[in-house]
C-alpha cells in the first residue's frame, strides 16, 4: 500500500473514531501516532510525540488564543453587548425589522471583541430576544437574526479560528485578520438585507417599534464607547502595526477587565470566573491543536494531498469545480463536526490542494471560516441554534429552524462574491502589509 493510501485510510479511521465518540484530540493523536509509526517507524513517531506537546504548549504565537478568549469572556460578563444592542435599537427605531438589524449589528460588533460565535449567540439571546418578543417579533425571525448575527463572531477579527488556521497553515495572523474584515462587514450587510426582506414580506413578523427623537438617537450613540475603545485599541493596534496580535490580545483583555472594574460592571468573582472559564476553554483547544499537529505531520508525510490533486487532474477538474467540491464537503462535514475540529482536520488535507489549483491560502482561510460559520447555523445540528434554544427553552426548535433558513443564503452569496472578487479578502492585507 502506498503512503498516500495509508493517508486516506488514516482520514477514514479518524472519522470512524470520531463517530465512535472518541474525543477529537484523542482521535487526532491516535491516528497521528499510529500513522506516523506506519510511515516513518516507531522511534521517529515516538520522538515527534515527545516534542510536539512541549513545542505547541510553549509557542509564543499561540498565547494569543487564551488572551483573546479572556477578553471575550470578560466582555460577556460586563453588559457590553447590552450597550451595543440598546444603542442599535434606539438608532433603528421606527424601521420595520429594526430590532432584527439591531441584533445582527450588535452581534457583529460584539463579535469584534469576543471572537467566539457561540458566546456571541448566547449573550445576544439573553439581551435581544426578550426585547424582540416584547415588541411582537416572530420567534423564527428573532432567533434567526440572533443565530446569524452570532455566527459573525468567528469571521470578524479577532477570530480564534483564524489564529488556529494561521498556526496550522503557517500564515500571518495580522494578514488573516485584515483579510477577514471586509468579508465580515459584507456578510453583516447581507444578513441585514435578508432581515429587511423577511420583515417586508411578512410585516406581522416584525411590527414597527415607536420612533424616537434625534436627540435620543445621538445619546444612544454614546453608550457603546467602551466597545469602540476596545476595538480601536486591539484590532486598530494590530492593523496599524502598533501591537503584535499577542500584545493586542493582552491589552484588550486587560482593558476589558479594567473598564469592567472601574465601571462597576465586573465584580472580582466574575473576573475570577472569566479567568477560570478561559483556562478550561483554552486547554480544550490546545490539546486539540497538539493532536492536530501530529495528525498534520502524518498527512504531510503520506502526501495525501498529492493523491487528491492527481485525482482532480485525472478527472480534468478545473479550479472552480475543485473549490465547489471542497465547499460542499465542508457543508456536509459541518453537519457532524464542530468548527475548530473541522479546521484542524481538513486544512492539512485541503490547503495543499487548494494552493496547487492557484488559490491564495489567505483567501482560503476566509472561505474556511465562512463554511464553519455556516456549520454553526445550518439545521439540524447548528451549534448556535442549540445555544439559543438552551437560553430560551420556550422557543420551539422548529421555529428556530424555520427562522434561520432565509439567512442561510447569505454565506453562500458571500462565497460566490469571494470567488468572483477575491480582492474582497485580499485587498486589505496587501494594502496594510504589502
Amino acid at each position: 500500500m502506498s503512503n498516500q493510501w495509508i493517508g486516506a485510510c488514516g482520514v477514514l479511521a479518524l472519522f470512524v473514531l470520531l463517530f465512535l465518540r472518541v474525543p477529537v484530540w484523542a482521535a487526532l493523536m491516535l491516528v497521528g501516532v499510529i500513522g506516523n509509526t506506519i510511515v516513518g517507524g516507531w522511534s521517529s513517531s515516538f520522538a515527534i510525540l515527545g516534542t510536539t506537546g512541549f513545542d505547541t504548549g510553549s509557542a509564543y504565537t499561540l498565547s494569543v488564543i487564551p488572551l483573546f478568549i479572556l477578553m471575550g469572556d470578560v466582555a460577556s460578563s460586563t453588559r457590553l453587548s447590552a450597550d451595543l444592542f440598546n444603542a442599535a435599537r434606539v438608532l433603528l427605531s421606527g424601521i420595520r425589522g429594526g430590532l432584527s438589524i439591531a441584533a445582527i449589528g450588535a452581534a457583529a460588533c460584539f463579535g469584534a471583541v469576543c471572537g467566539s460565535s457561540v458566546a456571541t449567540a448566547a449573550t445576544m439571546t439573553k439581551i435581544a430576544l426578550p426585547e424582540m418578543r416584547k415588541a411582537g417579533y416572530d420567534d423564527g425571525l428573532a432567533t434567526g437574526s440572533i443565530a446569524a448575527g452570532g455566527s459573525l463572531g468567528i469571521l470578524i477579527p479577532p477570530s480564534i479560528i483564524l489564529v488556529i488556521y494561521a498556526a496550522i497553515a503557517e500564515q500571518s495572523v495580522p494578514k488573516l485578520f485584515a483579510a477577514a474584515l471586509i468579508p465580515g462587514l459584507v456578510l453583516t450587510g447581507i444578513y441585514i438585507v435578508v432581515a429587511l426582506i423577511v420583515a417586508h414580506l411578512k410585516p406581522d413578523y416584525a411590527p414597527t417599534v415607536a420612533n424616537v427623537t434625534w436627540k435620543e438617537r445621538l445619546d444612544a450613540l454614546r453608550q457603546p464607547w467602551q466597545f469602540l475603545l476596545l476595538f480601536i485599541v486591539t484590532i486598530g493596534g494590530i492593523y496599524a502595526g502598533v501591537f503584535s496580535p499577542t500584545e493586542a490580545a493582552a491589552i484588550g483583555a486587560f482593558g476589558a477587565i479594567l473598564l469592567g472594574l472601574l465601571g462597576r460592571r465586573l465584580t472580582l468573582s466574575q473576573m475570577i470566573k472569566a479567568i477560570e472559564g478561559t483556562v478550561i476553554t483554552s486547554a480544550l483547544l490546545f490539546v486539540i491543536i497538539i493532536g492536530a499537529t501530529l495528525f498534520a505531520y502524518f498527512i504531510v508525510q503520506t502526501q495525501l494531498p498529492v493523491l487528491l490533486s492527481s485525482f482532480a487532474q485525472s478527472m480534468q477538474l478545473n479550479a472552480l469545480t475543485v473549490m465547489m467540491i471542497i465547499v460542499i464537503a465542508y457543508v456536509i462535514i459541518g453537519c457532524f463536526l464542530e468548527g475548530i475540529g473541522m479546521v484542524l482536520i481538513t486544512v492539512p488535507v485541503f490547503l495543499p490542494l487548494v494552493v496547487k489549483f492557484g488559490y491564495d491560502p489567505i483567501w482560503f482561510s476566509i472561505i474556511v471560516v465562512i463554511v464553519v460559520e455556516l456549520g454553526l447555523i445550518h439545521p439540524p445540528v447548528g451549534m448556535n441554534l442549540f445555544v439559543i434554544q438552551a437560553q430560551a427553552p420556550d422557543v420551539k426548535l422548529t421555529a428556530i429552524y424555520r427562522g434561520i433558513i432565509p439567512f442561510l443564503i447569505a454565506p453562500f452569496l458571500l462565497i460566490a462574491l469571494l470567488l468572483i472578487f477575491p480582492e474582497l479578502a485580499l485587498w486589505l492585507p496587501k494594502k496594510l502589509y504589502g
Binding site: 504548549g57 510553549s58 500584545e247 478561559t278 463536526l337
Partner: protein, 162 residues
C-alpha cells in the same frame, strides 16, 4: 481517589489561572514600558512562553476530570444508552493510554535538555525545569483522567450510570 483528583485539579486550575494572569500582565507592562519609556522588559518573551506552558499543561486536568473534551455525540441517538456508556468508558481508557504515552515520550527530550544544559535565550532558565513542569502537569492530568473513571457517565440521553 476522586477526592484526591479533585484536590489536584483545583491546585492545577489555580496555577493555570495565575499563569494566565502573569502572561497578560507581563505583556501589558512590556508594552507600556516600551512605548512610555522606550525600555521594554528584558525576558518578557520568555516569561510569556513559560506562563503559556504552565497554563496549558496545568489547565488540562480540569477538562479531563469533568470529561469536557469535545466529542461528536451523534451516535448517542443511534444506539441504546448502554452502548453509549461503553463508548464513553472506552474513550476514558484511550485518553489514559495516550496521556501515559505522551509522558513516556517526553522523558527522552527532557533528559536530553538536562544533559546538554539547554536554556531559554533571554532568562537563561534551564529547559529541563520547564520539561519537568510540563510533565508534572500531564501527570496531574493523567491522575484526573483516572479520577474520571470513578465518576458516573452522563450522556446526551440524560442518563447517568457508574
Amino acid at each position: 481517589m476522586l477526592k484526591f483528583a479533585e484536590t489536584i485539579k483545583n491546585a492545577q486550575l489555580r496555577l493555570a489561572m495565575l499563569a494566565l494572569f502573569v502572561m497578560m500582565m507581563i505583556i501589558v507592562f512590556d508594552v507600556t514600558m516600551r512605548y512610555a519609556f522606550s525600555s521594554p522588559i528584558h525576558g518578557a518573551y520568555d516569561v510569556v512562553e513559560v506562563s503559556l506552558l504552565v497554563f496549558v499543561f496545568h489547565g488540562l486536568s480540569a477538562c479531563f476530570l469533568a470529561r469536557q473534551n469535545i466529542v461528536i455525540d451523534l451516535i448517542d441517538n443511534l444506539v441504546p444508552e448502554r452502548v453509549t456508556h461503553i463508548l464513553v468508558r472506552l474513550s476514558d481508557l484511550i485518553t489514559i493510554g495516550i496521556l501515559a504515552l505522551m509522558i513516556w515520550a517526553m522523558f527522552e527530550p527532557a533528559s536530553q535538555a538536562f544533559q546538554y544544559g539547554d536554556k531559554k535565550l533571554e532568562l537563561g532558565l534551564k529547559l529541563w525545569i520547564l520539561w519537568s513542569v510540563a510533565m508534572a502537569g500531564l501527570a496531574g492530568t493523567l491522575f484526573c483522567a483516572f479520577g474520571a473513571l470513578a465518576k458516573p457517565v452522563v450522556t446526551s440521553h440524560g442518563g447517568e450510570r457508574m
